[in-house]
């Protein structure tokens, strides 16, 4: 399993964010994208998970272009994208929200796996409340619980979604949660998965993270 990007270019409106960007990441790899605000980090992540189309260049998953029809069919279920968006509907309870997010996986996690994942994220009390009464941090943890649920749903060896693309996963999390999330990501990479993430906070990962710097004078 390998994700490769060849001379990617990305335009935002009239501005060129980056050009001739190449990267590749293998199983077990962890890649951190650095760069000042507005350097195109989020755009790069969205391009890497086929949710945005690059101005030029290609993104290959196991050698297949993720925007070609065949490539997309095998790539879509393999990537787990966690963007800035809350991905939570206020009228539904955390359990209902998580179950729906997991329904997109090849082996969807059933109710008790989701409940266990939510408890692991410390949302025991909020299981039955509509999400609109939860705080931003709690709602973020409901979305993050999906990482646990998708890992737990398919047992330790198999990987439902090998590629994790995480945009600022540590925002609105307290120290303990940051620690816990770092371990989850480390375990995911150790099990043969891979993760690409953007974050301004340092996190205690169990393995060295390759870095890619975008734009600006950094």
């Amino acid at each position: 399993m390998m994700l490769e990007a060849r001379n990617l270019a990305c335009m935002k409106g009239e501005r060129l964010l980056f050009r001739n960007l190449n990267l590749h990441i293998q199983a077990g790899g962890l890649l951190r994208v650095l760069g000042p605000n507005g350097a195109g980090k989020t755009s790069l992540l969205r391009i890497l998970c086929s949710l945005a189309v690059p101005e030029a260049g290609q993104v290959l998953w196991n050698g297949q272009d993720i925007h070609a029809r065949a490539g997309r069919e095998i790539f879509a279920p393999a990537v787990l994208y966690l963007g800035h968006a809350p991905m939570i509907n206020g009228l539904l309870t955390p359990l209902e929200n998580l179950q729906l997010l997991c329904a997109a996986d090849a082996q969807p996690a059933d109710a008790d796996i989701c409940a266990a994942a939510l408890r692991a994220m410390g949302l025991e009390a909020a299981l039955a409340l509509p999400c609109r009464v939860l705080s931003a941090g709690q709602r973020r943890r409901v979305a993050l619980a999906r990482l646990h649920a998708s890992r737990a749903a398919c047992g330790q060896n198999a990987l439902a979604r090998p590629l994790w693309v995480l945009d600022e996963p540590f925002t609105a999390l307290d120290v303990a949660s940051v620690e816990q999330l770092a371990q989850t990501i480390t375990a995911h990479c150790a099990a043969g998965g891979m993760a690409i993430f953007v974050s301004h906070q340092e996190a205690p990962f169990g393995l060295p993270a390759q870095t890619l710097t975008l734009g600006g004078t950094a």
Binding site: A76, Y81, G83, N89, L92, A103, A104, D105
Partner: protein, 221 residues
């Protein structure tokens, strides 16, 4: 994924019953407005009844269209479904079906009640209800394509009306024509068969176009 999304959307529709009731009352209000405009002469009301009820149903479906994807687009769940292993047209069909059940079906159920308002003869009511039952899914399917095309676009609300109303005209003609055919005694079956054909055609094409349009909306960020 289909069942999960269908269940979720129906649950959402149930939890936000107010929106569903709003589009239903809109249907009732529009239907009640016409007599004030054209007078309450019995003959006239019977003549224009089916057409007015159909136009009111069409407008209330149009009104509820932007509710279809806007919420999921805003909170990012739409992106997650695009990354699922279920092909997009399938879960889009689930969303449209759930939307139709929460907005189209109530129109069908309440139409006989409104028909009384127009003093329509009793034997017209089943045809009116069946024509709405067959017609509103086409409106929902075509409307969903319009909603997906105008997702996140600035003048989206008005634009969607301009895009889909020409496409709604044949459905309106067949629907109102069915009831008219009963009135003329020529029998409504050919018109209802046309509506059925419209259902099948829309069911096979609209989810595809809608999924493509949604992918575009997400990809343009």
């Amino acid at each position: 994924m289909f069942a999960a999304l269908l269940r979720r959307d129906l649950l959402l529709a149930w939890r936000s019953r107010a929106d569903v009731l709003v589009s239903l009352t809109f249907f009732i209000i529009v239907a009640c407005l016409f007599p004030f405009g054209v007078g309450s002469d019995k003959e006239l009301l019977i003549r224009i009844g089916p057409g007015v009820l159909w136009v009111a149903a069409l407008l209330s479906v149009l009104l509820s269209l932007n509710r279809l994807f806007a919420q999921d687009y805003a909170d990012g769940t739409l992106e997650q479904w695009l990354l699922s292993d279920t092909p997009a047209p399938l879960w889009v069909a689930a969303k449209i079906l759930a939307h139709w059940i929460s907005t189209g079906l109530p129109l069908v159920l309440i139409s006989p009640l409104l028909a009384v308002l127009y003093e329509l003869p009793a034997e017209w009511l089943p045809t009116l209800a069946v024509s709405l039952l067959l017609g509103t899914p086409i409106l929902a399917l075509l409307g969903a394509v319009g909603a997906a095309l105008t997702l996140g676009v600035r003048a989206g609300g008005v634009l969607i009306a301009l895009l889909v109303l020409p496409l709604f005209v044949p459905v309106l003609i067949f629907g109102a024509g069915a009831v008219q055919a009963v009135a003329d005694g020529t029998g409504a079956t050919p018109w209802l068969l046309l509506l059925g054909a419209g259902d099948l055609a829309a069911l096979s094409l609209a989810p595809l176009a809608c999924a493509a349009a949604l992918r575009l909306a997400v990809e343009s960020g």
